[in-house]
């Protein structure tokens, strides 16, 4: 059955692609099968969008979709929401927000947009399991861009760094004091920091604090942008910033253990 699906997939069958995503998500496609079947080199740019719950990740992605499509780029989105630790159930609502916040009449009917909602179990670093083979499939199907939306993520959820070429961290006004931004974790692995809800009072102060802290870091530091999905201000600048981050090359060398 897998062979037949892969055949259809190679012929550009969107539903075979969809089915394969499910199998990959369930960990049912062995890595060597994927490697053999999909020989194409990596060309999709992978963008992770992360930040705490309610900060506006889905809404902002909804705002980015028309800009991506305007340049005739295609985009696949892996939208993670939490799975219940008690029942295993999940309410996957990111798609709804993306679709409602976008200015496209209906991105769902656009062949250049593919949204897959995923349930992420607790303790997986705020992303669903098996994202790597899924990204591989998006790549082989020809998507220019893959956006991973994490579960509402806190300070320590840095796992997306390994999967993405570009990490975008969303913060919002009135969160934390100066010391907050000195802490290790997410801010360290970020390429672009978005002060979202930039139309709200306090946005400027948060932006200043984050800029001050990042100015102290050695080497390349993250870009800081103030963005408002409500007014649309800064969305275009964010898209330009995402495009300007070089693929993969930005990944930092991990610190060896025991140093």
């Amino acid at each position: 059955m897998l062979e037949a699906l892969l055949d259809q997939f190679r012929r550009g069958d969107r539903q075979a692609f969809s089915r394969l995503l499910t199998l990959a998500s369930n960990g049912e496609i062995p890595q060597q099968v994927l490697d053999q079947a999909l020989s194409s080199p990596k060309r999709s740019k992978v963008v992770a969008v992360t930040g705490s719950g309610g900060v506006g990740k889905s809404t902002l992605i909804g705002k980015l979709i028309p800009l991506i499509r305007k340049e005739n780029q295609t985009v696949g989105i892996l939208a993670c929401d939490p799975r219940s630790p008690l029942t295993g159930g999940a309410l996957l609502g990111d798609r709804f927000r993306m679709v409602s916040s976008t200015s496209l009449s209906n991105p769902t009917e656009d062949d250049g947009v593919f949204i897959r909602s995923l349930a992420a179990a607790p303790g997986h670093g705020a992303v669903a399991a098996n994202l790597a083979p899924m990204i591989r499939l998006f790549d082989a199907f020809g998507f220019d861009l893959v956006i991973i939306e994490t579960v509402g993520a806190g300070q320590g959820d840095t796992a997306v760094r390994d999967l993405a070429d570009v990490v975008v961290l969303l913060l919002q006004p009135e969160t934390g004091d100066e010391l907050q931004w000195e802490k290790a974790g997410l801010l360290e692995v970020t390429d672009i920091v978005v002060i979202h809800k930039g139309d709200l009072p306090g946005a400027e102060e948060t932006e200043t604090q984050v800029r001050d802290v990042l100015a102290l870091s050695e080497g390349k530091s993250a870009k800081v942008l103030r963005v408002s999905s409500k007014s649309g201000h800064g969305v275009e600048a964010l898209w330009q910033a995402i495009k300007s981050v070089q693929r993969a090359g930005t990944v930092m060398t991990p610190v060896p253990n025991g140093v």
Binding site: R14, Q15, R19, T22, G89, A90, L92, H124
Partner: protein
């Protein structure tokens, strides 16, 4: 790794109908029953709903209609599902559906119509029974 295969269901409202309290209660109940609920929300076109079901590789589609347009919109969705060769996807309808229209909908291919007063347990056990009958969630 979590390889659990939960029942995946898309819940959507089609057409011009702003009543989403009921569908949200159902969404919550199915979530609490361990299912993966993709909430597609209000004002969806039949085309968008079918594309959502395809891209999400869902097992079920639950449509909520309180607008009276069920005999126009539901057959349209069913036809598009057939055209997309998504015959394996079960369709549920909920909302305000007059008694006499229920057989019409089931005749068209709707698996079940759940009207006002349906208990959440009834919907959950219906879906679980069907999943068991088919042997696996994903055959």
């Amino acid at each position: 790794m979590d390889n659990r295969q939960s029942i995946r269901i898309v819940l959507a409202k089609v057409g011009l109908d702003g009543h989403d309290r009921g569908i949200k209660v159902v969404a919550r109940a199915l979530r609490d029953a361990g299912m993966e609920v993709i909430y597609a929300g209000l004002w969806q076109t039949p085309e968008a709903v079918v594309r959502t079901v395809a891209d999400e590789d869902a097992d079920w589609l639950g449509l909520s209609l309180l607008s009276g347009a069920h005999l126009t919109l539901v057959p349209r969705v069913l036809e598009l599902l057939r055209q997309a060769k998504l015959n394996q996807v079960g369709v549920l309808v909920g909302g305000i559906i007059p008694e006499e229209d229920i057989p019409k909908l089931t005749h068209m291919g709707v698996a079940r119509v759940f009207g006002p007063g349906t208990s959440m347990a009834e919907i959950v056990s219906f879906l679980r029974d069907r999943a068991q009958q088919s042997g696996a969630v994903h055959a």
